[in-house]
Symmetry: C2
Subunit: 332 residues, 2 copies
DNA sequence: TTGTAAGCGTTATCAC
DNA sequence: GTGATAACGCTTACAA
């Protein structure tokens, strides 16, 4: 192993002091041009790179951002990470990606690791079971900025960036009504989740306002299998009386498709289908499924710029919302 | 901001030396039990955590592994990362995930970052356009162990872990023959890629050995769209004379499904379908698509154990292969 | 314009 | 058992 180059080695070689080398390398104004040239030349030759540990130790912080998500095997979080990665790289930061495996204990362990490594900032999507926010509060005491995204806490003292779920729900319902697709079977996810509650409220509010609440049937499915079952059962019980199905997520959408398939029903003639999605899965089917797009990528961009604002200091704690857009498809 | 606890603070508080505190905290045998107790108690109270920068600077390496992939938005790499993450965590390491955006320059930049941060080891899947291995060679000179996975270089001086592509191709062909599904339309990906070449060789070798080479039609699709086109065209040209379609990847499979759909053909009666996949997408359709599973997760486990071997020093450079398994589905 | 020296928080090698 | 002390590689007042 060729020993790595350090400031000291360069300074010894050139018979100048370490500090001069250090300054020359960072183009400090008051170092002689000739000296700079010599230093830089040798540094390049020796393939010198500053030792990040030493720099960080000295500066007391690293240029690493952390992203803590319940699961990275998730297209939405992926695109979020992708977006943050792009911006982070552009600003000279790198990203440390941590999974909580949807376990609050692992989540806490991840936070400890972040503190431990003095990361520059943390982006967090909570696990669905995170109960106490104590570990997060602790980050404030060590001045690590925190931005919650997607799965955010109720607590108002935190910075949050989230999907405008209520509006997304409204948007979906409006689309269905506009296309005259009542009566509709709406399948939501876990009823306990706030995301479900907000989307459902938006959806039903529109139906109520339009006076078509009686043409709306709601049910809940926690997994794709359950969505299959509901689809089959509701259509059989109600004698295929639904003009359309609304699905709250990709997973449910997949279930609905399987269900309709079992019933030998064709999209969009036998029934229309509209879902909420981050955008990958709906395009795989034929006809492509119409969806209201909640963009993880855009959320990432928004979160990052929020993080930068927070780090610059001139801002207040608040929650930002990201709007969704309609992507047409042959299923509606 | 509450100042963070350090060894010095604890030692001042207790009027003992820094070294004793350090030793007490790591249960060094020759420190008095009573002293240990007091130190640990105070440390817990002050919420002390060792400063990772200082430790790393001192020890000259960090306990962070890096994973460098072309794209993380890819189910295969996901499961790979998931597996490595699990093992790394268990061993007290953390993971730094870096994307190359399939750009050799970004890839090189990522490697520099790894060196710079003295990572404990690197797992790399090359971009499809990586030409020179110089940057990788450089890692050896600074003693950073390297394991290539999935997209590995031809160079034999590197450690590699990869899918047994040839065998996987064979396995697929054997399954198709066993189910009497000739003639078959086989759609592969980019013909330049070694992964394509190996899978294709395995596939055709079996057909040749079985004497059914004349019942095999091969074509190449770089994107899903192309696969749609090929599917439609080949079936129309050949008057639906194929008993089955073989697809080399998820993306192609999606294209084939759309194509068959356009042709109003039903699986598995009008045509059978077998694909190679990491396992997520094939289960979304109905009937579920039969596939030969190349497990990113298993590859991750294998890579990690390989990394550990390399780090322990008692091993030689070599390439490991991971076998695939058949997952039945209604499409075959 | 350049050099000296203190310190960042730890670990490790000596002494006592 | 415990305590000095010297690194690790870098930045940054403060001198010269």
């Amino acid at each position: 192993m060729k020993t790595t180059a350090t400031l000291k080695k360069i300074s010894d070689h050139l018979n100048i002091s370490i500090s001069t080398v250090s300054r020359a390398l960072k183009d400090h104004p008051d170092v002689a041009p000739e000296t700079k040239r010599r230093v830089k030349e040798l540094a390049a030759m020796l393939d010198y790179e500053p030792n990040a540990f030493a720099v960080n130790l000295r500066k007391k912080h690293s240029n690493v951002f952390a992203v803590v998500v319940p699961e990275i095997s998730n297209y939405f979080y992926h695109s979020f990470i992708q977006a943050v990665e792009e911006d982070a790289r552009r600003m000279g930061y790198t990203l440390m990606i941590l999974q909580s495996m949807n376990d609050p204990d692992v989540e806490e362990q991840n936070l400890r690791l972040c503190r431990h490594n003095h990361v520059a900032g943390i982006f967090v999507a909570l696990t669905s079971r995170t109960a106490h926010m104590q570990p997060f509060k602790k980050l404030e005491t060590v001045d690590i900025p925190l931005v919650f995204f997607d799965k955010v806490p109720a607590d108002e003292t935190f910075n949050k960036v989230s999907i405008a779920d209520y509006d997304t729900g409204r948007q979906a319902a409006e689309l269905l009504l506009k296309h005259r697709k009542a009566p509709v079977l709406a399948i939501f996810g876990n009823a306990q989740l706030s995301i479900t509650q907000r989307r459902e409220k938006g959806f039903t509010d529109v139906c109520r306002e339009a006076g078509t609440l009686n043409k709306l049937t709601i049910c809940y499915a926690e997994h794709a299998d359950e969505a299959v079952r509901h689809t089959v059962q509701y259509f059989q019980i109600h004698g295929k009386a639904f003009a359309s199905v609304f699905s709250m997520s990709d997973e449910i959408m997949c279930g609905v498709l399987k269900g309709l398939n079992q019933l030998q029903m064709k999209l969009p003639d036998d029934a229309a289908l509209l879902t909420i999605s981050n955008g990958f899965l709906p395009t795989l089917f034929s006809p492509e499924i119409a969806f209201v797009k909640t963009s993880g990528y855009d959320l990432g961009k928004l979160s990052f710029s929020r993080m930068m604002e927070i780090m610059s200091g001139k801002t207040f704690v608040r929650e930002n919302f990201l709007a969704s857009t309609y992507i047409p498809g042959g299923s509606l």
